[in-house]
Subunit: 430 residues, 2 copies
């Protein structure tokens, strides 16, 4: 790019109209001089050709993306990873770009195309790139509906305040017939679960059609409510082809107030989640399947924090995300950032419930609570409830006992001396 062309994509130190731009932040590794690389990135993601042949015009002022910030973080003779861009020196830089929202409008697929489409990921001279943040003007986000229930709505449905929510993933996760599934759900609910939940791998399958499973479980939900005097819910995984989602949602919503739906959001598509959220009569939970295929590499893809934020914008009331602990292959700071993305103030968009998941049981509750620094979260144990040696009711009870210990300022080990279910949980999973 010649200096004149480049200048049309640079606005460092200039004032820009905050209402008209989305701000995209990237980590890049480039063999170009970093400022040129950043300008190229702007050109490629907006108006690569900015006038017609032979016409005196310039689309850059209105439609061009512009570099508004550049931090060179370092340089190296070796790339992060050997891909396609070769050079003697690789610069790493954080680039902040103002991209005119007029180029895409308040639509998730078009926003994603602009921020993480061909322009960003096929940019001359840029070896690796990671989209780490998107900030949107209030004028833009107000055109999104966001979560319909949010944390407050979910708590209101349940009548539970001041403590984390307990969501048990019925296990064995695949293979159970509806009646057996419902029985396990019942036991977990009796023991103290707020939600009995489908695993991400069970859906409207031949061996357990949703309609049949729903009927079987709901009978038990109402029975558990009677027995315990607590509100209970069934979280149904409605992940399916997009053209079936509304039908499945509506089926589940027949038990409105006692049910919620789950989508494996990036397998059905973020926009399909928005489609369901807009008309949802029950809370919408998302599960993180497929997301790590593009978030885990530190210097490539898209950050998980941004993905959480966009799921919230799409209208997810609760977001199941990789949680703490080695198996979940996510740093503690990343889990915290993801939880915060659910909870920070976003104008006009409700807070959603963070659910860091993965190999949880009674013994991991205190750590979650301390690390998150709030009671506004849920846990989603599977084996920790349904693999408890005394059965699912005891497994669920062990969770509630762990919370009692935390509330009373007693250690779980101390509390376990007088609480059998908690003791057995420590023996089995500790």
């Amino acid at each position: 790019m010649n200096p004149e062309e480049e200048s049309g994509f640079l606005a460092m130190g200039e004032e820009i109209d905050g209402k008209k731009y989305a701000l995209f932040t990237y980590l890049i590794e480039t063999t170009l001089e970093p400022k040129s690389a950043a300008a190229t990135l702007c050109r490629e993601q907006s108006t690569a050709l900015w006038n017609r042949v032979g016409v005196k015009e310039d689309f850059r002022p209105e439609h061009g993306a512009k570099v508004i910030g550049l931090d060179v973080l370092g340089e190296s003779e070796k790339p992060n990873i050997e891909l396609f861009v070769k050079g003697k020196k690789y610069y790493r830089a954080k680039v902040k770009i103002a991209h005119p929202t007029i180029n895409f409008g308040p639509k998730l697929p078009n926003l994603i195309t602009a921020a993480a489409g061909e322009g960003a990921f096929f940019c001359h001279g840029i070896n690796t790139i990671k989209l780490i943040d998107v900030q949107l003007p209030a004028e833009f986000t107000k055109k999104f509906e966001g979560p319909k229930f949010g944390i407050a709505g979910i708590r209101k449905e349940l009548g539970v305040n001041g403590r984390p929510l307990f969501v048990g993933v019925v296990k064995p996760n695949v293979g159970l017939k509806p009646k057996d599934f419902a029985q396990l759900a019942y036991e977990g609910l009796l023991g103290g679960l707020d939600f009995a939940k489908d695993d991400e791998m069970i859906s409207d399958v031949e061996y357990s059609p949703t309609k049949e499973r729903l009927e079987a479980v709901m009978e038990k939900v109402y029975k558990a409510e009677d027995k315990t005097g607590e509100k209970k819910m069934y979280l149904v995984n409605i992940t399916d082809e997009v053209y079936r989602l509304e039908e499945l949602h509506d089926m589940v919503a027949e038990h409105k107030g006692h049910t919620a739906v789950m989508l494996n959001v990036f397998t059905v598509g973020l926009s399909a989640a928005r489609m369901i959220a807009r008309k949802a009569k029950v809370p919408l939970f998302s599960h993180f399947d497929f997301i790590s295929t593009f978030t885990r590499i530190p210097f490539y893809g898209v950050s998980s924090e941004l993905i959480t934020k966009i799921q919230r914008l799409a209208g997810c009331d609760a977001i199941i995300m990789p949680g703490f602990g080695e198996r979940m292959m996510t740093t503690e700071s990343e889990v915290k950032a993801n939880a915060k993305a659910c909870l920070y103030e976003m104008p006009g968009i409700k807070k959603c419930l963070p659910i860091p998941g993965g190999s949880d049981w009674a013994g991991t509750l205190r750590g979650m609570h301390e690390k998150l620094g709030t009671t506004d979260f849920a846990m989603v144990p599977g084996r920790g409830v349904f693999g408890h040696p005394m059965g699912a009711e005891a497994g669920a009870r062990s969770l509630r006992q762990a919370w009692e210990a935390i509330e009373k300022g007693v250690s779980e080990k101390e509390y376990a001396k007088t609480h059998l279910e908690l003791r057995k949980a420590y023996e089995a999973f500790g």
Copy 2:
């Protein structure tokens, strides 16, 4: 995992019922003994807990994924990339897994959950993993509709056989008002384009609403048909929120026979593409935005070849994919594999049109043709038509002239001596 548990996830050398299983192939890097790692991968992606507490049962025979092939490719003291799994030795292996289709059924989101969801990407002891292939039994694929038109259908609509198709991406890609856009499209069509096409960045935007742009362009399409005596088409990018896709498709389909629709498939979601394809009245083209965020890293994510195959299964009639040439950051063998994924015999599923794209012009046509070894492809030049120094009509003409040269067995340079538009293209882009 103890040997007994492991054995339930191993079926190497055993006969399996091919009708009941999808075959998933992965490249893994693991610190575990490779066979154990492969068995763990099966367990995590299927029935991690395979019996209820206290119940004598085993879900593994019917619902468990099973290792059916394992090639250890090498070992190293250093990982591909420092992520979360640490050890002294890293084994690299190709693992083939038979996963029971009963676990998900003929639904793309559920298939993706099984093959590339939490199970596969959060597997103890596996540092990096890439899903490189999915083979599906005919019993499964026959429940998919596949492309409605396919190559043959698109050629029939156009009445063009025996040569590649010429699809021109109107540029400047963003910012043009509908009338100006239509005029450029007209010039390109007059010059010899088969399709005038929206860029992936233009959609139903404020500055160029789809309805208005469609009306403006269609007037010119019909006029170009009259003038040239050739069939012409407008390829409209209908990428938008999922709940608007049908409306936009129907609007475009009012000009059925002279139009096609495009989706930036992984920004709207693969399943939304299937939703549109099932009812499509005009051909569906896909664009590759976002896909490279999870396909480019050689040892992590999902292979692009598989993504092409699944887009075909979802019903895309034509697939725009990263093409040849340095800018597209894709190896030649990968481009060829992607084109082949459109063209191989898949029982009951039509062939779709491969469109390797990126910085094409008259001079790149011969290379594409030779490398692909077929005329069943299209090219999607932008600047090569609309940045031609003599304008879009000449730009399009230069493509047709390049094809004439190839057909006549003359070099383009020779042919350019007597063909001004081709000569000017070489001067501008050569």
